[in-house]
Amino acid sequence: MSWLAHFNYWAVIVVMMTGLYMAIAQSDLMRKLIGITLLQTAVFFLYISFGFVRNAQVPILTEGAERYSNPLPHVLILTAIVVGVATTALGLALVVRIRERYGSIDEAELASLADEVEDLEPHHDFDDQDEHP
């Protein structure tokens, strides 16, 4: 099974690169966030792979267990998953706000909107409405 020794890492790389491709190539902001989430999952998986020991037990102390997997990556990733969903939610909130304000979540459209605003300075439809309640 020696040729399979790195199969885990290769699968991680495939998932990681798919996420990266989504984040840089697709212009929809939601899809960019999904890509980043995928990339994140791949990183989690990489860490857990490092912590794994063959023929070992889950790191919960039991009678008669000889060897346990490394608990440290588990701790790091456990907290990272929860922090990850909180930060993803922050990204989603930003996307929702952008959609409400500019009517689009497409990166290219938003960029062209920004050019328009520059051309039509100083007065424009996108005046800051948040200032007055």
């Binding site: 199969f7 699968a11 929809d28 999904i34 792979s49 794994f52 919960i60 997997s69 990556p73 969903v85």
Partner: protein
Amino acid sequence: MISLLLLLFLAITAIAIVRSRDTLTAVMLTGLSSLISACLFLLLDAADVAFTEAAVGAGISTLLMLAALHAVAPVRPQPRRVAWPALIVVLLCGGLLAYGTLDLPPFGAAENPVHQHVGNHYLEQTEREIGVPNVVTAVLASYRGFDTLGEVVVVFTAGLAVLLLIGRPRRKDEERDAR
């Protein structure tokens, strides 16, 4: 063997997410990929992580994405065209990473450098110093308690920021922007 199948399935799901035109499909497939990775975590002896991933990734995260998708609707489908510069960059980067893995120690060997450091200390000392059978909990809450405090503060801060951004119901004068 089953973990190989699951890994293959995970990779296929990831590619299906990229190729999907509809964002809703992509979100649902992301939930699926989380569930698969939760199964994989369990097979890799990380019971606590699998637990968390199943609850967070397949549950809350997918749900928040669906809610956000509803709030930004309608979303135009992604045109199916390949962005060649991005693809080349990604392939190069992936190739380099794959080349890098050739120097990594074999997967799952007990002699790997990762297992020679502080991990052993935790496994050997937890019973005497903490008296809690679940080593992950012992490390999380006690040995690395300061780290976890930081993580909790991050979760709190992220929640605060989301409240500031979209905490209040939408005002009437903002509706005109919705097209």
